[in-house]
């Protein structure tokens, strides 16, 4: 039972970090950012890259804490910069175009990144040495259950990230500007908010969270590959929709609800069909409650 609960929290944490990016972008641009999954995947590869810097044969040349911190910082920086660039080159020119165009652009960007990384890594998976970075000895034993260090790390890092995000959104000037812009872009620009900067920042913050999620996922599954963004991305998007897309607290809630459904589903039904269950849930959800748990129905403007 404790083990299932920890599994659920771990899975939910990754989904939450990942889903926030979808939700934030959708909240401001009402656009499905297909490339977000690839940003996440590149976060995972940053973990691999940093690991190779510090790996000497079977030994780490620095304390694990330093390596992991390095991974997170590099992933956040690279993913953030990448997402800002994607928005600038692929989405901004199409901001006022017919609604099909930005979606196609995002889809093309997603396939492009995935294939570029695929070619560079020879379409093979790469190992993450969680056994060296977070050895079992660092786990905590509660009663007769041992909680792995990777799970603890995921839950703790996610908690910190979510608290920082909450403070940023509610206290900082930029956070307020982001919330204002997501409600009414035009009105926000009349109030002297630089909408372009807000949108760039949204992509930056969402991608930094996805970068963290990528590193954590790599540590958890002990490997990364070029295709990991797609299936997980769909699930993260499910979580975002479940919570009411555009609503950040909703995205976190949705992530944990989805994680619960999946943990129970793979326990009681079949592990092989775990993804199918998640996607079937997504379809049913979009059909019957498209506004999600905490979302508001969209208003029609005439």
């Amino acid at each position: 039972m404790t083990q299932q609960l920890v599994n659920l929290l771990t899975l939910g944490s990754v989904y939450a970090l990942f889903a926030l990016g979808y939700s934030m972008v959708y909240g401001i641009l009402t656009m499905l950012n297909f490339a977000h999954g690839e940003v996440f995947m590149i976060g995972g590869f940053m973990a691999y890259m940093v690991q190779q810097w510090f790996l000497d044969g079977d030994q780490l040349t620095a304390p694990p804490a330093v390596v992991i911190l390095c991974m997170l910082v590099v992933a956040m920086a690279v993913c953030g910069a990448l997402a800002v660039a994607i928005e600038f080159f692929a989405y901004r020119p199409l901001r006022n175009a017919a609604r099909l165009a930005p979606l196609i652009s995002a889809l093309a960007m997603s396939i492009l990144l995935r294939n570029v990384v695929g070619v560079l890594t020879h379409f093979r998976t790469r190992p993450i040495r969680t056994d060296l970075l977070l050895p079992n000895s660092m786990g905590i034993t509660i009663g007769d259950v041992t909680i792995g260090a990777d799970r603890i790390l995921i839950i703790v890092v996610t908690a910190i990230a979510l608290i920082v995000l909450e403070i940023f959104m509610s206290r900082s000037k930029m956070g307020k500007a982001m919330r204002a812009t997501s409600q009414d872009r035009e009105a926000a620009s009349f109030m002297g908010i630089s909408v372009n900067r807000v949108i760039s920042t949204t992509f930056l913050v969402g991608a930094m969270l996805a970068g963290i999620a990528g590193v954590l996922t790599g540590l958890f599954y002990t490997q990364v590959d070029f295709a990991m963004g797609f299936a997980l991305g769909m699930k993260a998007f499910t979580a975002a929709v479940l919570g009411g897309i555009g609503n950040l607290r909703g995205a976190v809630l949705g992530a944990f609800v989805l994680a619960t459904a999946e943990t129970l589903g793979s326990y009681y039904i079949s592990f092989m069909y775990r993804d199918v269950i998640a996607f079937a849930l997504l379809i049913i959800l979009l059909l019957f409650k498209p506004s999600g748990l905490l979302g508001k129905p969209a208003a029609v403007k005439v």
């Binding site: 396939i111 070619v119 929709v241 997504l282």
Partner: protein, 616 residues
């Protein structure tokens, strides 16, 4: 350069469209089709190699696949990511019916309709529920559906043979002859491609095609002119599923096998590239896209080091095209209508609602109807009201936008509605026409309760409206915009439009004539521009097109929302006179207007709305 292309894709469509309006100076389309057909026919003779002939077969399959996708994505403007699933369903249906998998050997001609049917049935199951939701979610629902189908193909070994696929299928036959050589396949499949192309062209330029384009360009307006949105979305989705299912069956028969790697995310992106690179919305563009894409792939094979970069290159091209050349290499052009203006004017230009038109006097040829049409149609007050609004109310959040609005409109009168900005005048219109559902109160039209009915059903009853912030369909011609109003009284469906039966031709001719006649109501210059994109018109002309579109709905009641906004004083006087002429022709009119002179000079009766309530 890039800027102007961006504008082309966006709301400001006018700039780049303007130079291409001289359609008549181009080579006629049948010549271009004939030249292309000749090239297709001689291609295998010219290359003389089995390899290149097989490449030609692949192009034919892509033409069918691309034209299928073009219906939902290019013409209807919906991002369908599930079409590859229907491609797979078509292919696997063919495979299961023609292999030793279940030891069924049905043969090509019996299996092919089953492939299409299987795709359509699954399309119904996924399409009906998913096309009710907001447009953006369609992409993700269909993507999830695609993913599930992909997973099932790989995991349900017993049926699909999993990753190995199903080999050794039955080959097609044609009049007893087994199709075997690449050259046989080539001509056989290009016949299919030609038929699909033909179907696509007829559909795009039909009543159904106009409804689809309306959904793409402006759903709310389409709905206000009688298009049942869910119905036409599903129709489009199913047409795509059927054509794509056919392509799947053909693919299986060509490969004599099906394999999971035929149906990947990469393939999905490739077909989108075909449609967008060629020119989305334009069947001929899709053919060009299929040719370019296939030969580009073949070209890359010459550079072995490039092969692994293939999908990266494909997606990069798609990205560049969508940003810099969103209309593709062969962009869609406005339809060239068959009815000539002179012909229509010869017949006379009487306008009016159908109930009054019988016996209405006909104006002199070449002249718009004069104001002195009739005195026998004077407001007949005292009878039952045409439209009766009682206690109408609507809240947005906590704000009461409209509260307890009641008024009657009698046949043959012009009711002016005035009030300051934000008083709720437009909201009242939106409540009457079903765009918003009222929270309180009732709307009765000819004694029938139409409260809360959908926009398209209300429009079909004979209520037509114009919009305060002009809403024309930017990617349709002037005449097609006006003909969009005819949607509910035209009858032709998909099949009759494909066959273009005499009744369909007659119907389209009537609608074109009526559209031209209604344009001619505003003078002789507007009908002359009937085959240009509506976006090249100036502001005042677009307003006139809106009114003409509303007249083409054959309404009894016209709701005009600030028709004189943004017009200069001369135009304002002109439109005021024309509104009176419309009343004299038999239309009942509700007029929302800011400009007091217009309201005062035109209206038979005036109500004042302020803060959501009727004052006087």
């Amino acid at each position: 350069m890039a800027d102007s292309f961006r504008a082309r894709a966006g709301t400001v469509v006018g700039r780049v469209t303007a130079p291409v309006t001289s359609v008549t100076t181009r080579v006629p389309s049948w010549v271009r089709v004939a030249v292309f057909a000749a090239m297709v026919i001689v291609f295998p003779l010219l290359v003389g190699s089995n390899y290149w002939t097989r490449v030609g077969v692949v192009v034919a399959i892509y033409v069918i696949l691309g034209n299928g996708l073009n219906i939902i994505a290019g013409v209807t403007g919906l991002l369908d990511m599930g079409f590859i699933a229907f491609y797979a369903i078509g292919a696997y249906t063919y495979a299961l019916l023609n292999s030793s998998q279940f030891d069924i050997h049905l043969g090509f001609w019996l299996s092919l309709p089953v492939c299409v049917l299987a795709a359509v049935i699954l399309g119904l199951l996924i399409g009906i529920p998913s096309l009710r939701v907001r447009g953006d979610y369609l992409a993700i629902v269909t993507l999830a559906f695609f993913y599930i189908v992909q997973r099932l193909i790989i995991n349900v070994d017993a049926v699909t043979n999993g990753p190995n696929g199903i080999p050794a299928l039955k080959r097609p036959t044609f009049f007893g002859q087994i199709i075997k050589t690449p050259t046989q396949y080539y001509y056989f499949y290009w016949i299919f491609a030609a038929v699909v192309f033909f179907i696509a062209v007829r559909l795009v330029f039909s009543r159904t095609g106009r409804a689809w384009a309306g959904i793409r360009d402006d759903e709310i307006t389409a709905s206000s002119f009688g298009v049942n949105l869910p119905r036409y979305r599903v129709l489009s989705f199913l047409t795509t599923a059927a054509l794509v299912g056919l392509a799947g069956g053909l693919l299986a028969a060509f490969q004599v096998g099906v394999f999971p790697e035929n149906f990947t995310l990469d393939e999905l992106v490739a077909v989108y590239l075909i449609v967008i690179l060629g020119g989305s919305g334009n069947p001929a563009g899709v053919v060009v896209g299929a040719v370019i894409y296939t030969f580009l792939g073949e070209f890359m094979r010459n550079f072995p080091s490039l092969v692994q970069w293939r999908m990266a290159i494909v997606s990069l091209i798609l990205l560049v095209v969508i940003i810099l050349l969103p209309q593709g290499v062969l962009r869609a052009r406005p339809r060239k209508s068959k009815t000539s203006v002179d012909e229509v004017i010869e017949e006379g230009v009487a306008v009016g609602p159908p109930s009054k038109l019988a016996g209405a006097p006909t104006a002199a040829p070449g002249m718009p109807v004069s104001g002195a049409v009739s005195s026998n149609l004077a407001p007949s007050r005292g009878g039952a009201p045409l439209l009766s609004v009682k206690g109408l109310g609507k809240n947005f959040g906590g704000v009461v936008a409209v509260d307890n609005v009641s008024f009657d409109v009698f046949e043959g009168e012009i009711l002016g509605v005035i009030g300051p900005n934000g008083a709720g005048k437009t909201t009242v219109f939106n409540l009457i026409t079903g765009i918003y559902e009222p929270d309180r109160g009732t709307v009765e039209y000819r004694g029938e309760d139409i409260t809360g009915k959908s926009s398209d059903r209300i429009a079909s009853r004979g209520l037509a409206r114009t919009f305060q912030n002009i809403r024309v369909f930017p990617q349709l011609s002037v005449l097609d915009n006006v003909m969009a109003g005819a949607h509910h009284w035209l009858k032709s469906g998909i099949f009759r439009s494909i066959l273009r039966t005499p009744s369909v031709k007659r119907e389209e001719r009537t609608a074109e004539a009526e559209g031209i006649r209604n344009l001619a109501f505003f003078g002789t210059s507007l009908p002359q521009r009937k085959d240009e994109y509506v976006t090249v018109l100036n502001y005042a002309d677009r307003r006139r097109v809106e009114i003409a579109r509303a007249m083409t709905l054959r309404p009894d009641l016209l709701l005009l929302d600030e028709p004189a906004a943004g017009m200069n004083p001369a135009e304002v006087r002109e439109i005021s006179d024309q509104i009176k002429q419309l009343r004299d022709a038999g239309f009942t009119i509700i007029l929302v207007e800011h400009q007091m002179p217009v309201v005062m000079s035109v209206s038979d009766r005036i109500i004042v709305v302020n803060k959501g309530q009727v004052l006087a």
